[in-house]
């Protein structure tokens, strides 16, 4: 059982939960996830971790899954918090890095940005969503990035348009050595299609991990024509080697 220290709605259908997990907090690194189960007899859901404190971790629960957090309040307990899931992302020795995310990937790139900033590697951050209603942590990311770009499809925040649309201009004006994308499957697919033959791109994927050890095979993903398990070999893969069409067909466009 893990105690909820804080619950906050940070965007539409998006809750930030600060949960007591001292052992996981000691070990979790950028790019890793945790699996939570709210009560017995429920399916585990895999969620990204944002801030990590000494005794607690901050998880972000989004979309349809966030409904199970509606009635949660401070001092309630989550039945299980298991992690870290997947391998820790390592710093690549590059000149600069462009971190790209939609609202599902913001916590992931937040931790990557912290890691690259500590290593003094210049960071550009691109976040995009349908509307500003879904966006959060822009200020936190701004503090970490050398430059931040925000795009919304309805123009309610930042420039109007999709991320792949704006990446065209951005990649024309700037040269990046590495791009890292995290977010919903369809978003990662579009970004990866755009960056192919332009810049080396990594994707941090979350393909429905329901158990922490790859036992059920739900976390499988085809990379370089081979089946890989995100919980074991991932969650970071070369984006251009991932069969995103198959991935989106299996998991769906979002994580709902």
């Amino acid at each position: 059982m893990s105690r909820v220290l804080k619950k906050q709605k940070i965007a539409e259908n998006t809750f930030l939960i600060d949960v007591e997990a001292p052992e996981i907090a000691k070990k979790i690194g950028p790019g890793q996830f945790v699996i939570i189960r709210t009560k017995p007899r429920t399916e585990g859901i895999c969620v990204p971790v944002g801030m990590v404190k000494r005794n607690s971790i901050t998880i972000v629960v989004k979309g349809e899954k966030s409904k199970m957090m509606l009635n949660y309040k401070k001092n309630d307990h989550l039945n299980d918090v298991v992690g870290p899931i997947g391998n820790r992302a390592n710093v690549e020795e590059v000149e600069n890095v462009c971190l790209i995310a939609d609202s599902y990937g913001i916590p992931v790139i937040y931790n990557l940005a912290k890691m690259y900033k500590e290593n003094k590697i210049p960071i550009a951050i691109v976040i995009g969503e349908k509307s500003k209603r879904f966006l959060y942590w822009e200020d936190k990311l701004k503090d970490l990035a050398d430059k931040i770009y925000v795009f919304t499809e309805d123009g309610s925040r930042g420039e109007k348009g999709t991320v792949p649309f704006h990446l065209r201009n951005l990649f024309y004006e700037h040269i990046f050595e590495l791009a890292i994308v995290s977010g919903s499957p369809a978003f990662m697919h579009e970004v990866s299609n755009f960056t192919r033959q332009r810049v080396k791109t990594k994707a941090i994927v979350n393909p429905l991990m329901i158990d922490p050890i790859g036992l059920s095979g739900t976390c499988r993903i085809r990379v370089d024509e081979k089946i890989k398990f995100a919980a074991i070999e991932g969650p970071e893969f070369n984006a251009h080697s991932i069969d995103f069409e198959e991935f989106v067909a299996r998991v769906g466009k979002g994580y709902e």
Binding site: G83, P212, I213
Partner: protein, 447 residues
């Protein structure tokens, strides 16, 4: 739907009852007490079978269980899960018209005996056991009985390994696993769930805190055929299907989910997990068909499981191999090609495809049970020799390439519950010897 099929639907409890006192005594009295008992040779745990059967025929169940427990830690599991036709009962005297029902008698002894109370003499050394499947459980029990301070780490939220995750309640009631865990706790074994060793705690960190470590992480990762359409949404592994039902109990609160309410299910594979998944699907109200590329006699599953599945109405499509799955985002059909058995140059039976024999089998759910490989999470950060399939290499004492780290069970290649249990027991003896020798070395140095 035949009678048994309609009876089984919705029944997740064990159907086979245990023997009555009279039935057990009658069955036990048939034993010939052979000079060279084939049953003992056929049992991977070498249980003194004629002796325990003799105790049952004398009405002394507790002595019978005592004899069983000398060689086996999990009689409640082995009596239900062992492929007995290939083990003890398969080696029973040919003089008898039919072999003695040894498994039934073992179960009878377990259920009717008074368990012994054990008060281990405590030893100061700490041992970590990773994985709470048959190997981990039996190693933990034996070490705890020897007096060691044992901590059992389990990655999932509920312990039992394959006994809990993969084997359905109707074949092995999960309350028996719970009872066994309570017994382990009474011996002082500490169980830590939700602890993914290799991520939350690395093996080198564990080795610093414990005098010895036993890795029994099993064979967990599913394998795939890598054929067209295998990614489609309603194609899942037997591991996932059984995990969702056995551990999450999702069929109880999410019964409308398409995984638990399909009309037709195809199960690909011929092992016990495949049969278990098909029998479970029947209980959920589906019609289930097993597709297996070899002949009926070559099914890897135990005879008991297969014959129960047939009685319950599971269909068997033998000598058939899936070629591809069709459908837009969801699988609608599986294209199957027929096979024939032939002998290769070495005289082994092999299945070869019959040209132009493809046909389509419609289904709303496909469950894949194509075998598993070991997960490399635990050993990846430690310098432990293992092969490409993740199986750990061990010496004759089950010690890995790292000193003080032992391994056994499916992760070292065991294929049945009873074999894993035996390796767990063997590891406990090796760990005890290793720690005793360490103690002697320290004493010699001090002298």
């Amino acid at each position: 739907m035949n009678n048994l099929e309609s009876k089984r639907k919705g029944i997740f409890e064990e159907a086979e009852r245990s023997l009555s006192r009279e039935e057990a005594a009658k069955e036990a009295s048939r034993c010939l007490k052979c000079q060279n008992p084939g049953c003992v040779a056929g049992c991977p745990a070498s249980i003194d079978i004629p002796n325990f059967i003799n105790c049952i025929s004398c009405g002394n169940e507790s002595s019978a269980l005592k004899i069983i427990n000398k060689s086996s830690n999990l009689p409640f599991a082995c009596s239900r899960l062992c492929p007995r036709e290939r083990m003890c009962e398969g080696k029973c005297s040919e003089v008898l018209e039919k072999p003695i029902g040894i498994a039934g008698l073992e179960r009878y002894a377990y259920e009717n005996a008074q368990p012994e109370k054990i008060h281990p003499k405590k030893k100061p050394k700490k041992v970590a056991v990773i994985g709470s499947g048959p190997a981990g459980l039996s190693c933990a029990e034996d070490l705890a009985v020897m007096g060691y301070d044992v901590t059992l780490f389990e990655a999932l939220h509920s312990a039992g390994g394959i006994l809990r995750c993969c084997i359905p309640n109707f074949r092995l009631p999960h309350r028996l696993v719970d009872d066994y865990l309570i017994y382990l706790a009474s011996l002082g074994v500490k169980l830590i769930n939700n602890a993914v060793i290799g991520r939350l705690i690395t093996l080198p960190e564990l080795k610093k805190k414990y005098s010895a470590v036993f890795i029994a992480t099993g064979s967990t990762l599913p394998t795939y055929m890598n054929i067209e359409g295998e990614h489609l949404q309603n194609i899942i592994t037997a591991n996932e299907f059984l995990y969702r039902i056995n551990v999450i109990e999702q069929h109880l609160f999410d019964s409308k989910n398409e995984l638990f309410s399909p009309k037709r299910v195809v199960v690909v594979g011929g092992n016990d997990s495949a049969i278990d998944a098909a029998r479970m699907a029947v209980r959920l109200g589906s019609s289930a068909t097993i597709i297996f590329q070899k002949s009926f006699n070559e099914l890897e599953a135990s005879y008991d499981n297969v014959s129960r599945a047939r009685e319950e109405g599971v269909k068997f499509l033998m000598l058939s191999l899936p070629k591809r799955y069709t459908g837009a985002s969801k699988m609608e059909c599986v294209e199957v090609i027929q096979m024939k058995s032939e002998e290769d140059e070495l005289g082994n039976s092999v299945s070869v495809e019959i040209a132009d024999s493809e046909f389509m089998e419609q289904a709303e759910l496909a469950i894949l049970s194509l075998g598993t490989t070991a997960s490399p999470i635990v050993v990846s950060q430690a310098n432990i020799n293992h092969n490409l399939r993740g199986n750990i290499f061990v010496d004759e004492n089950l010690m890995t390439s790292a000193e003080g780290i032992f391994s056994g069970g499916a992760v070292t290649g065991a294929s049945t519950v009873v074999e894993s249990m035996c390796l767990g027991k063997k590891a406990a003896i090796s760990i005890d010897r290793y720690l005793s020798e360490q103690k002697k070395e320290v004493e010699l140095k001090n002298d």
